[in-house]
């Protein structure tokens, strides 16, 4: 995996390396605390906790 940078995990603050082919709004897992994170943006790299949504949403 060619990493292009790292961003802090919003839950445990440890650095998470971001793969080159990662795309916005993709879900990844923090290697340290295991939280599910969402790639909010690539430039600058920003991670947020992935929202948990009840499965059957809008039409």
């Amino acid at each position: 995996m060619i990493a292009v940078g790292t961003a802090a995990c919003p839950v445990c603050d440890s650095p998470v390396s971001l793969a080159a082919d990662l795309t916005e709004s993709e879900i990844i897992r923090c290697p340290d605390c295991g939280s599910e994170l969402e790639v909010r943006s690539m430039e600058p790299a920003e991670l947020v906790e992935a929202p948990v949504e009840e499965e059957d949403w809008g039409q």
Partner: protein
């Protein structure tokens, strides 16, 4: 109070439904879809429809701003007002409203749902969400004054923006908050079918247990439908009927026992309560 959900298919006999409803004595609320009108309009405007399927099998239309414009034109505009017009022509003083009007159907925009696209799991956010509250006092005010509310999407979210929502969820919520006694769903099929391609596979009665079994095995839109049907039962409606909206007299036939009776209370005779000589045209 009766809640009538009219499917959005092109084959639905709106005129026949309006004629039948004109003969009902009990007050009623209509909720309707317009997916056929929307798809037709989208095609004529060259707009493509993006359907996304969540990781656990729920599929639905991706609602971007163009899609909300389409909802406003096809659901809130064309279909809603043609239904109101037909009602007026059969002595029903209908008032057409969306969830935006008077904050009638308030919902919460979805935070983001996980979908699988191009081998990745992604969060998808769009202009859609779940209905949470109904402005019952507006509905009551209108019905007390003799009007028949005719409701459709869009609904209003917490930022007062127009969002899309599943008509089945809206129907369950309205049924619960208005204490509807009977919910009649008129669709483009004889009723709930074991196999949609086999006309003889109509299921006359569906118990709550049946629904849960079916839901386990179903996928995509059918899974959604069953999920919503279960919630409809939980809304407390005494009778739920799924019947054929294409027939000559769709409502009267449904009350006569045609279609599928959902829930435990399937022996109840709905004809007597509701059939009435034609109601005199109510003036505004």
């Amino acid at each position: 109070m009766i809640l009538i959900k009219i499917g959005g298919g092109a084959g639905i006999n709106l005129k026949g439904i309006a004629a039948d409803l004109g003969q009902l004595r009990a007050p009623f609320i209509i909720i309707h879809g317009a997916n056929a009108a929307r798809d037709d309009l989208a095609e004529r405007l060259g707009l493509s429809k993006r359907v996304v399927t969540s990781v656990s099998g729920y599929s639905s239309v991706f609602s971007d701003p163009d899609a909300i414009d389409l909802l406003m034109m096809a659901y809130a505009g064309l279909r809603n007002k043609r239904i109101v017009e037909l009602c007026q022509q059969h002595g029903i003083n209908a008032v057409g409203l969306t969830g935006l009007d008077g904050r009638l159907i308030q919902g919460r925009r979805n935070r983001g749902v996980r979908v699988r696209e191009e081998g990745r799991t992604k969060i998808v956010r769009d202009l859609s969400g779940k209905p949470e509250r109904i402005n019952v006092s507006l509905l009551q005010t209108l019905m007390d004054a003799g009007y028949a509310p005719v409701l459709t999407v869009p609904i209003i979210d917490e930022t007062a923006s127009a969002i899309n929502s599943e008509n089945d969820d809206i129907t369950a919520l309205v049924a619960r908050e208005t204490g509807a006694d009977l919910v009649l769903q008129l669709i483009e099929a004889p009723g709930f079918m074991r196999d949609v391609r086999d006309p003889s596979s109509l299921i006359p009665h569906l118990s709550p247990e049946d629904i849960s079994d079916w839901e386990m095995r179903a996928e995509g839109r059918i899974k959604r439908k069953l999920h919503a049907l279960r919630k409809l039962l939980e809304s407390g409606a005494r009778s739920v009927v799924i019947a054929d909206g294409r027939r000559e007299r769709p409502v009267l036939d449904a009350l006569d026992g045609l279609g599928t009776r959902v829930g435990d209370d399937h022996s109840r005779d709905l004809r007597g309560i509701l059939r009435q000589p034609p109601v005199a045209a109510t003036t505004g």
